[in-house]
């Protein structure tokens, strides 16, 4: 929550409560909170005050997934408790290796890399192949039909890594148990950032129904409503989005869990961002290992996950939002995995959650802050961890 919003609410409370003594207490509490650094908002907070778990389908080297991880790790305002990895853009095993290597390159091997789900709960590559014969081809299927710089391969194969293989090892714990442990250790303090399919989150929620309610908030890159573009990948099936589609059952489970807050970066707004050659050149001018890594492997394209990450760090990047109730279709028809949304008057009342949809952004501000994060020195490991 942005700091000005806290103060805005406090002012309303002050007006409601005329007692000077109550005002004094309220202000004292507020000042105390600010000093503790528990109030988010990048510019005005103590270093490392923002506890976050990065749940990511971490295809690499470079690209949207790694750049999103970097956006959060490079911010001095965050304390990254761990990076939990899930199959999505690539398979889990290779994603873990790419993530470990990135942490080595930027000197943050203190951040645990925690392996999560290798496969969606119900959906599978083989099932989708049959589904396609009935309902049409799906252009992008992540690890199932695409691999960075090489042929599509099986889940356990790790092709040679152009950035070099890591020597560090992943955590022994699995993603779901790690996340559960963290939200119990820091109740209502941990932001869950989700940049990939929701399998790990659904598993955590299934194991511990308290999981979502103990987290502070859920930040999601996923879903698609009505993207305005000429790209047929999005116009022909405007409600299909890869992250939510790859594991529809997990998405539905997570979107029916009692989060205190859910913020969603959709395809609609993501495609208003572009990783241009100019941006890559600006990052290439940075001398830090993070900047050099990013620039070396960057490709022109949309800044899907980076926008979700950056808008969490600085909500003022987002200039327009609206709220809807959201779910994902789990029926096995032509709409399997598609985004469902309702307003209050039309929703079915089956536990679906209200989410904040980002509609528009200040592009220049986003690009500036993203480049700044990529080229700044990587913050040292969080003290007292």
């Amino acid at each position: 929550m942005p700091i000005d919003k806290i103060f805005g609410e406090a002012e309303i409370s002050v007006r409601r409560n005329n007692s000077p003594r109550r005002n004094y207490i309220l202000l004292t509490v507020l000042v105390f909170l600010v000093l503790l650094g528990n109030v988010p908002g990048v510019s005005a907070q103590a270093p490392g005050s923002h506890k976050v778990i990065i749940d990511q389908d971490a295809s690499g080297p470079g690209g949207s997934d790694m750049q999103a991880i970097l956006t959060i790790v490079q911010s001095p305002a965050t304390e990254v408790l761990g990076i939990t990895v899930v199959t999505g853009d690539a398979w889990l095993a290779e994603e873990v290796q790419h993530t470990l290597r990135l942490m080595e390159i930027i000197g943050r091997t203190d951040i645990p890399v925690v392996p999560g789900a290798a496969f969606p709960l119900v959906n599978s590559k083989e099932y989708i192949a049959r589904w396609e014969t009935l309902h049409g081809k799906i252009v992008y299927q992540g690890a199932w039909n695409f691999a960075v710089g090489g042929p599509v391969h099986g889940p356990w194969e790790i092709p040679p890594m152009s950035e070099g293989a890591p020597t560090s090892k992943p955590a022994a714990e699995d993603a779901a148990h790690f996340m559960i442990r963290m939200v119990h250790k820091y109740p209502h303090e941990v932001t869950i950032y989700e940049g990939g399919p929701m399998t790990n989150l659904a598993l955590a929620q299934a194991i511990d129904p308290e999981f979502a309610s103990l987290a502070k908030e859920l930040i999601v890159m996923g879903s698609s409503l009505n993207p305005q573009t000429d790209d047929p990948e999005f116009t022909l099936t405007p409600r299909r989005e890869f992250n939510l589609w790859m594991d529809p059952e997990a998405s539905s489970r997570v979107l029916h869990s009692d989060w205190a807050r859910v913020v969603v970066t959709t395809v609609d707004i993501s495609i208003k961002t572009h990783m241009t050659k100019e941006l890559i050149a600006q990052i290439a001018a940075g001398k830090t290992p993070a900047a050099q890594y990013t620039a070396k492997y960057a490709q022109p394209g949309y800044l899907w996950d980076e926008l979700a990450a950056a808008a969490w760090l600085d909500p003022s990047i987002i200039t327009k939002t609206h709220k809807v109730y959201m779910d994902v279709e789990t029926d096995h028809g032509a709409g399997y995995g598609d985004t469902l949304v309702w307003v209050e008057q039309t929703r079915p009342h089956l536990g679906e959650r209200e989410v904040e949809i980002q509609d528009d952004l200040d592009q220049e501000k986003f690009y500036r802050e993203f480049v700044d994060l990529m080229i700044r020195p990587t913050p040292p490991p969080h003290v007292g961890k």
Binding site: S64, D338, P348
Partner: protein, 418 residues
């Protein structure tokens, strides 16, 4: 999420412009299994016969101006809410055009129940001077879909905003405001505010009428459908030759990615006509028509009735104009859903941009039931889905002018009975 540049290199969906001429018929095989039943014109044969074609076209144009027999034949299949509204106004555009010969109006439940629609249509024909046009009752119910099933569906998947004749379906309850009435069962026809008709509907049913007409005038009849497609599905089921024997199919239905003035819709791909009877839409859109044009919500909401237009129409002294002026919607200023589909057929130059994509509807009993499915040539499943013309942009001034001009036409001379 991450998508690589690889996928951005795909071609944007093709657009074609219509320069005052009907777009060419689509002789595209829908799949290997149905190729044999569809004529495929090669580019070479088209080029060599282009001179002959031009001469024929000139002759045709002369013929159409010269005699009633040269008029473009149409069957109007409509969910004919009344009085006026988009349904009756769309019908009137055909009836008022001197270039059009209306073989009959086949009625289907949709915006209202069939029998009430039949009464409104008969009365409209009396009031506007077209009493000779056959009104042929069609389907009362969709093939599979039922309002009781939709109740259960809504409990799972959320409330459907507009349900036509099913709206608020408790006897006596107020229907949606634009229905202007209370819910009643299908066989009940309340007294009409415009007066009850004295003329009678045809004894034949809609499906058999459609079949008989396309056999009587092979490759000459346009089938226009402004409502649910139940009648067409019945006709195709009884006689699969209907699609091939018709000249073309013109439909108002479906929604793709419409941009509404009041913000993003929650239901992007749901549109009433298609949603009411999804199975019929699937049967119709997978039949081998020579040409299909679908006017979707996306372009329909770029039109609107205005008070200024109604004022202008009120000054015209023809019965058709007076009917619209008296009963036309003055409160909601509705989108001109069906009128636009008609106008694009009467004068294709009104459509300034259109695309071609493969279209079907989801008939799985899921959250997506009744929603439009769309593909291009690279991702379609090849299960008889057809390439359809999708008007995207219009010349609004030309459209509104055509609508008003048609209402100002004297009622067209009757043609011999069929």
């Amino acid at each position: 999420m991450c998508r690589r540049g690889l996928f951005l290199t795909r071609l944007s969906r093709g657009t074609i412009s219509t320069f005052g001429m009907p777009a060419p018929a689509l002789h595209q095989p829908a799949s290997t299994s149905s190729t044999s039943s569809i004529k495929v014109f090669s580019a070479a044969s088209l080029a060599s016969s282009s001179k002959v074609f031009a001469v024929l076209l000139t002759l045709l144009l002369f013929a159409s101006a010269a005699s009633p027999q040269g008029r473009r034949k149409v069957i109007i299949d409509q969910d004919a809410r009344g009085p006026a509204t988009t349904d009756q106004q769309a019908i009137l555009m055909f009836l008022q055009s001197p270039q059009v010969e209306t073989l009959g109006i086949t009625i289907v439940s949709g915006d209202m129940w069939r029998d009430e629609e039949v009464a409104h249509t008969l009365r409209m024909l009396e009031l506007t001077g077209h009493p000779e046009i056959p009104v042929v009752p069609g389907a009362i119910y969709p093939l599979i879909n039922r309002m009781e099933v939709i109740d259960r569906w809504e409990a799972l998947y959320g409330k459907v905003h507009y349900e036509g004749a099913w709206n608020n379906h408790k006897p006596g309850a107020n229907s949606a405001s634009s229905l202007r009435g209370k819910y009643h069962p299908p066989a009940e026809v309340p007294d009409l505010i415009e007066g009850n008709p004295t003329i009678k509907p045809a004894a034949e049913d809609a499906a058999h009428f459609i079949i008989r007409m396309v056999h009587q005038y092979p490759h000459q009849v346009t089938i226009y459908a402004g409502g649910p497609l139940t009648n067409l599905a019945q006709a195709l089921s009884i006689d699969p030759e209907v699609a091939d024997l018709a000249q073309e199919l013109v439909v108002m239905g479906g929604a793709l990615a419409a941009i509404y003035p009041n913000g993003p819709p929650t239901e992007l791909r749901r549109e009433f006509n298609f949603w009411w009877d999804p199975e019929s839409v699937h049967m119709t859109l997978t039949a081998p028509w020579h040409k299909i044009t679908v006017t979707t919500v996306d372009i329909s909401i770029k039109t609107r009735m205005t008070k200024a237009m109604l004022t202008e129409i009120a000054k015209i002294q023809t019965p058709a104009a007076q009917y619209v002026a008296k009963y036309g919607d003055k409160e909601y200023m509705e989108y001109m859903w069906d009128e636009l589909a008609v106008a694009g057929w009467i004068d294709p130059s009104i459509i300034t941009k259109q695309s071609q994509l493969f279209m079907d509807i989801d008939i799985s009993h899921t959250a997506n039931y009744g929603n439009v499915l769309l593909w291009d040539n690279t991702d379609r499943p090849g299960l008889d889905e057809q390439l359809v013309n999708l008007p995207e942009e219009l010349d609004s001034a030309k459209f509104y002018k055509l609508f008003v001009d048609l209402l100002a036409q004297p009622s067209a001379a009757p043609v011999a009975a069929h």
